[in-house]
Symmetry: D5
């Protein structure tokens, strides 16, 4: 099942830079791992913002929450989740 997720990263100005850099590196590794697994189907950068629009393909809300809430940058992110159904005008595979 598909979910559209927007993630806006809010970096507190007084956060410890090294801690944050480690988290960013871990976030990248995790994101790429999930992409290879086919769960994180699309990952786009919102031009001009520290934010992304992503499409997740997982089997349940629980799995989605598990993936998102364990992302290294989760504590610094504001997320909005939109469940996506198949569109009657969509052609081909909807992912």
């Amino acid at each position: 099942m598909l979910y559209c997720v927007r993630m806006d990263v809010r970096v507190p100005h007084d956060v410890d830079p090294e801690t944050f850099e480690r988290r960013k590196a871990a976030e990248k590794a995790r994101a790429q791992e999930l992409q290879r697994q086919g769960k994180w189907r699309h990952l786009w950068r919102v031009a001009g913002c520290y934010a992304n629009v992503s499409i997740f393909d997982v089997d349940s809300h629980d799995e989605l929450h598990e993936l998102l809430s364990t992302l290294p940058l989760f504590p610094y992110m504001e997320l909005s989740v939109t469940p996506l159904a198949r569109h009657p005008s969509a052609i081909g595979d909807a992912a």
Copy 2:
């Protein structure tokens, strides 16, 4: 270039049903044509709403505007457009 576009359709309660049905049919045909051309890359239904989340792949803002503003249902839609850049953690082709 990729754009994330959300379209919320607002159907006035006193619109002429036949006119609207004709527009819906024309909208479907046009959407499928653009998908076949590879310009309307993804089209998903927002579950529970008369709205969609779409990804367009076109060469310019002008082309995007031309496509969207000539959609048969454009007069009944509220659109928000988010330009998408490549994400540094994205793997493979970004579309």
Copy 3:
């Protein structure tokens, strides 16, 4: 899977009363049918508003959209959909 859905009904002041009453009756019948099927798990009235908070239990976003978009009062409703996961502190069956 569980979804929390808020439905706010906006009744145009110049709608034909009989049409709307027929739709309301059909809505009630449909809502009770879905409750008996266990798909519409909870249906509560927001005190003071023509709105409800509901919990749906269905197998996919597509099924949720099918149920909601075919509700007789769907054309008069503003919906917001929140996918619900199991809470780590919840005891017993989560529904």
Copy 4:
């Protein structure tokens, strides 16, 4: 009487981790105690967010406020409270 309560937890990035962990553990214990008492009827996680949607069943606003304001994580939460009445289309016990 039923109340729908949404709780969004805002964790300051510079909060003392141990203090917060102790509060989270106390929150879990309290939440489970209230569920066993039948006052905290439903507790669901909003998929993708550090938030929950809950249904409380208590006898008065005062009791609701007492329960919520003494939750260990109350100082870190934004709450919205919606009083729920019985829906004319609801079948069976409304809780």
Copy 5:
């Protein structure tokens, strides 16, 4: 129990004046009846707006919804309901 209710009246410009006047008269009679019963404890006009701030004192959400949703002007109103608990600094009877 006390509820603070704000009611904003939206009068469609093309409503039939006589119908609306009849409803306004019925609304006034009903409001005064409920005040005499002690259920509509306070009724104040928001200065400069076709809106009021009211305090209701009823025994349940269901009773509140019954009262509000049967007000003659209910179809033209936007309502927001805030349940009120006793304030620890309040002196005397809280109503």
Copy 6:
């Protein structure tokens, strides 16, 4: 003259607890003093939130501002002020 005032208290997580407790005690004393003077006519707790809905009865905007801005918790509060006029359907003394 009557004013409806909503006060939402925002307690910074790193505020010095003792300072804040002293302010809370001073706030309570001041609130009760103003209630005894008949200026703070009603003080209700918003169920589930660190907020109150209050009705003030003072002779001018200046007096209202003086009262509110000198409340010990004023620096931690977000206030919204709604001037209240007499409602044509109100019976009895409007306070």
Copy 7:
């Protein structure tokens, strides 16, 4: 006492032009009468919008409501009212 009032005029596209023109003329006459009485102290046009920012000087909320709610264009206006107190840094007469 001073009130800052913003008035946004929403003209329904299908309003009867003559009716509206008569109301506009009556509004202008009334506005000028109140200015001559010193009650409508300042009346400015928000540049680019069918809206105004005004300062009223009246003796009570009731008087303010009476003035505003009987303005010929009141049914087409959205108003927001801000009570103004004397500013400690203001020099001279505050009006």
Copy 8:
């Protein structure tokens, strides 16, 4: 002096098409006239919306209001006006 003005056109679905087309033609002629006069410095289409972002260069708020409020499509537009000053980092003529 420069003003940034965003204009969102809201076309009522039941507006008379011919009337609206005439207004659109008149709007285009007027917009081009003002551009030739150097008052309407920039006129861009917001991609995907029936809206524009414009930069006006006029001598006063009054002149700006005169220009905007007499635009043929003014009755169908929502405008927001942002006065622009010279930016300390701007090079060359600011227009």
Copy 9:
């Protein structure tokens, strides 16, 4: 030319009190100087809030920005600026 400016002062709870008091004193002196010069025409306190509504009379956006951005409390303020034109119903001098 006239501008309506609303200034909301946000005082961080952990700001150094002395620094802030010095700024407040400097702000008062500057505000009174500008009032004497006739540039800061009106300065009113929003009753109940640490905010003001002001009317400035200056010759350009640049001058307005210079005045506002050099106010001692500018770093702690949220401002909204509304350019004011002459209202067709205004009588006498518009300031």
Copy 10:
């Protein structure tokens, strides 16, 4: 291609002044460099706010993001990006 970008700078009150001043100087240098390259076409100060409205002319969303996200003040800015198409009524070169 043109983008309208609004940048609102939020300066934390406890930021190290020297660090911030260095960033501001670097920001100015970078902004002027991009203006000379013709990429940052227009840069205006929002009168009364620490914000700007800018027009960028770049070849892709990726390039836009690269430019904006590497601005020295990017970590302190809230940005909104609006892609601009050619307006049918625009005369001359649209930039």
